[in-house]
């Protein structure tokens, strides 16, 4: 009997430690909402400086830098990028464009139209217009997206001759 005691106690310890089942399938998919609005433009930049133009959302303000935020998956990008080489972008040389985009629910601190002005894909970006209810061009307005609901009127004005300050490093 005593010989078996270590075996039995070892198994009991192992069973206790392994009693939880480890990974389990998620019960719910991550909540998603919809954001919609209009982007208006003035004083368009030259074609040579328009390498890309996207609507980008950041969870925090100021963001650390674009590269880290993108690689850590903390950004929202519209139109979405199926690959880094994708060339789909917000339309150029229009007065305005409307958009409707799926976005993870929660608070987004910084919604911005971002322009890639140079050839380096993850470095040469700058904000050219931001969602800002006060229009003071200094501190952007956060927005909270509710799951399964549409948040309207997330409108942004882009003036290439009067750019907002860039928090991107």
């Amino acid at each position: 009997m005593y010989r078996r005691a270590p075996v039995v106690s070892s198994l009991l310890i192992a069973a206790t430690l392994a009693c939880c089942e480890g990974l389990t399938p998620p019960s719910e998919p991550p909540p998603v909402g919809t954001m919609a609005g209009v982007i208006t433009y003035s004083n368009w930049d030259s074609a040579g400086a328009l390498h890309d133009l996207r609507l980008v959302g950041f969870r925090s303000f100021p963001p650390t830098n674009l590269r880290d935020e993108v690689l850590a998956g903390r950004v929202f990008i519209y139109p979405p990028l199926p690959a880094l080489t994708d060339t789909t972008h917000l339309p150029y040389y229009v007065d305005s464009t409307g958009y409707t985009a799926q976005i993870l629910a929660g608070t987004w601190q910084y919604i911005v139209v971002a322009q890639q002005f140079g050839p380096v894909r993850l470095e040469d970006w700058r904000p050219v217009g931001q969602y800002d209810l006060d229009t003071n061009l200094v501190v952007p307005s956060p927005i909270t997206i509710m799951a399964n609901e549409t948040t309207w009127n997330v409108n942004i004005h882009v003036d290439f001759a009067n750019l907002p300050p860039s928090p991107l490093r």
């Binding site: 990974l23 998620p26 993108v70 470095e123």
Partner: protein, 737 residues
């Protein structure tokens, strides 16, 4: 360089080894012996028997008997070792011409074996206690007892070692980097066994049924072994050829349990796995022969995860004299398997993404190797080793229209071991290698290298030994800048009394970039991956202090503190244009401690093993934790014998990996992550249970065991997006005729 010339080079190497064998015939006699247990006079099967001063060795048969024929007249010693018994050396055994000398040796049962013989730490046989570095040993019994299908299965239970998918990690050296070579060198019978293209270890190519034991040397070991010995060395030693004809048949069959959750049930069929291996060995005159064949099949517990494996192995040993031995081995593996890269998501964890269904890999790998040992005099021994290893595979990965690669590696080594006197042993050697790779992913490339090494072991006093050595390597890989390395080592061992040892060591390691890392050009997951011909070798410096102590006659304890500094570690990342690339980015430091306890109670009726390792793996470039390194490893096993029955259990715990490749698991650029839910991981607690019966006590040459792996059905990942196997039940039957 075409394949024909590679083949010719391999043959030339083998012929050179053959030609160096000198046949010296002398008047000879025979030694016939019997090994029995001193406690009950029962014959002992499977004891290793070495004839001192020669290269002759054998194992005892079912009657506990052994035979040495053709022994030159003279006076010899015989050393017998067997797990569970004290090692014994019988001196002054006289052999006369044309006469038979009979010997009976009694072995005294010993609850623990504190100092088994190892060959890897110093490239020669030595007691484990004489080794200045940490070495762990796993014997064939432990491998068979766990029904390990591949070598990496067996390695999961060795202290300080963990496996991430199929990459081996010694004291946190490796982490995981798909296609980025191995930071641990694997040897088969002392010969490097890594592929020429990716520099990886193909565990499935090593015939696990023919393994005598596995030795794991921990810490940088490039001073003896060169490239890849950055974090340690694993030496797989194959079984000797039996003196008497022996046929061994082993078969197993089992199934995987139904997944824990309904969401994970992707099929209503039971998923089976099975295997059959046959081997026969015998001696015909001076020639020993071992033939082995096996087939293994696994339906896989995941969708698109089946595998079929066929393995053939031939080993021939020729003993022209008692002082020389030539061994040749041929090994071939053909494998066809599906390719499960990662799950669709955690909701469908046993199913791959739809675009990966149908992906698979087909491979044929073979190796020819030879080893020749010659005792030139009482003090000087010559050993030559050579291998030709071909790795030929192609996949059907749909989005890249099929990758394929064929690589050849030819290696040769000449080693001398010179016992100057009782206090001084010199080991020195020269090595050469030639690699050739042809592939549609990394192109066609050739590489070559040369190395010289020397090691001096000095015994100042009986209790104090110093080991000093260095190796110079020159490697040239196609358009990469050629590089040379000088890697020193220093070790000291103090053994104040039998059963006690204190050790300290320093070693340097390096790993040359592989063809795959430097020249890869492909796409994966929508990313372009580009070559980096400016890659530099990785480097490491290892420091260790440790000791071992026998605790009475029932237990032994080993404790080691270690520190390893790495520089220029090759990691996957993105360049400024957003393209994937291998580059030298990381400086790292791993500090930690490792301890292990072995215990044998009630005349070895109850065996307990436990080991624990803690590491602090720091990425000094990013001031963060290194990826894929669990901080805590705890392994424990218990085995109880009740007459002809055994009951045992293994338990493994690995703490949750703190850092992984965020790039693969985070939403990227506004699209879903490459591996959805890839960040889902937990600490690992796995328990296996084994029940065995040995019917030989009833004069039936059969053993049977029933194993239940992961008995508590704990769900975990070792690698992101790869669910580990659920509970499986397997029955193993084995007979020796």
């Amino acid at each position: 360089m075409n394949p024909t010339s590679v083949t010719r080079r391999a043959y030339v190497l083998l012929v050179l080894v053959l030609l160096s064998a000198a046949c010296v015939l002398a008047q000879s006699g025979t030694i016939i012996g019997r090994v029995v247990s001193k406690s009950d006079r029962e014959p002992l099967v499977g004891a290793n028997v070495l004839l001192g001063g020669t290269l002759r060795g054998t194992v005892t048969d079912a009657d506990g008997e052994f035979t040495f024929t053709g022994v030159p007249a003279g006076i010899y010693s015989i050393t017998i070792s067997l797990i569970g018994y004290e090692r014994v050396t019988r001196m002054n055994i006289r052999v006369s011409p044309a006469e038979t000398t009979n010997v009976t040796v009694d072995l005294i049962p010993s609850p623990i074996q504190t100092a088994p013989v190892v060959v890897t730490a110093s490239k020669r046989e030595q007691s484990l206690q004489e080794s200045p570095v940490s070495v762990s040993v796993m014997d064939a019994t432990s491998i068979a007892y766990r029904n390990s299908v591949t070598i990496d299965d067996a390695l999961r239970y060795i202290p300080g070692v963990n496996i991430t998918q199929d990459q081996v990690n010694v004291r946190g050296s490796s982490g995981y980097s798909r296609g980025a070579g191995s930071r641990v060198l694997i040897l088969v019978d002392g010969i490097p066994f890594i592929t020429g293209d990716t520099g990886e270890i193909n565990f499935e190519t090593i015939p696990v049924g023919q393994v005598e034991r596995i030795e794991v040397v921990k810490g940088a070991s490039s001073a003896l072994y060169g490239s890849s010995a950055l974090g340690g060395v694993i030496n797989v030693i194959t079984k000797p050829i039996s003196q008497t004809p022996e046929t061994h048949i082993r078969t197993y069959g089992g199934f995987y349990s139904t997944p824990s959750y309904r969401q994970w049930e992707w099929t209503s069929d039971t998923r089976y796995f099975d295997g059959l291996s046959l081997s026969h060995s015998r001696r015909i005159g001076d020639v020993g022969l071992l033939v082995h064949g096996s087939r293994k099949a696994d339906d896989g517990y995941r969708q698109n995860d089946f595998r079929r494996r066929y393995n053939g192995y031939l080993k021939v040993k020729y003993d022209p004299t008692a002082y020389s031995a030539l061994t040749g081995a041929f090994n071939i593996l053909h494998q066809k398997r599906a390719s499960f890269l990662y799950w669709k998501n955690l909701t469908e964890a046993l199913v791959p993404p739809a675009d990966q269904l149908g992906d698979g890999v087909q491979s044929t790998r073979f190796s020819m190797s030879s080893q020749y040992g010659h005792i030139l005099s009482e003090k000087l021994m010559l050993t030559t080793r050579a291998i030709w290893f071909r790795n030929d595979w192609r996949d059907t990965i749909i989005d890249t229209l099929g990758n394929r690669s064929k690589s050849d590696v030819v290696r040769g080594e000449v080693q001398t071991t010179w016992t100057l006197d009782e206090a001084n042993i010199m080991t020195a050697g020269i090595e050469g290698n030639y690699d050739r790779v042809g592939s549609n992913i990394w192109g066609s490339h050739t590489g070559s290298g040369m190395a010289l090494y020397a090691q001096h072991e000095i015994k100042f006093i009986e209790e104090l030994r110093l080991t000093l050595g260095a190796r110079y390597d020159f490697q040239d890989l196609d358009s990469l800048s050629s590089n040379s390395q000088l890697n020193p080592k220093l070790g000291i061992v103090y053994t104040p009394q039998p059963g006690s040892a204190v050790r300290a060591s320093f070693g340097r390691g390096f790993r040359s970039p592989t063809v795959a890392e430097a020249f890869i050009s492909t796409t994966a997951g929508g990313f372009l991956i580009v070559p980096n011909p400016a890659l530099l070798p990785e480097r490491s410096y290892s420091y260790e202090v440790g000791g071992s102590q026998a605790l009475g006659e029932i237990a032994s304890l080993d404790l080691a503190f270690f520190l390893t500094d790495f520089s220029d570690l090759v990691e996957t990342g993105f360049d400024t244009l957003g393209r994937g690339v291998f580059s030298n980015v990381t400086r790292a430091r791993i500090t930690g401690l490792e301890t292990s306890l072995k215990c044998g109670l009630f005349d070895r009726a109850l065996l307990l093993d436990a080991s624990y390792m803690y590491i602090s793996p720091r990425d000094r470039t990013r001031d963060d934790v290194l990826k894929y390194r669990p901080r805590n490893l705890f392994y424990a096993s218990v085995l109880a014998r009740f007459g002809m029955f055994t009951l045992g259990s293994d338990f493994r715990h690995l703490s949750r990996i703190e850092r992984i490749d965020d790039e693969f698991v985070a939403p990227l650029l506004g699209r879903p992550p490459i591996i959805p839910d890839g960040d889902q991981r937990v600490s690992i607690y796995v328990t296996d249970l084994r029940f065995g019966a040995d019917f030989s006590t009833l004069d039936v040459p059969l053993t049977a065991s029933l194993n239940v792996n992961n008995i508590f059905q704990y769900n975990y990942v070792e690698l992101i997006g790869n669910m580990a196997p659920p509970r499986s039940v397997v029955l193993v039957l084995e007979t020796r005729l």
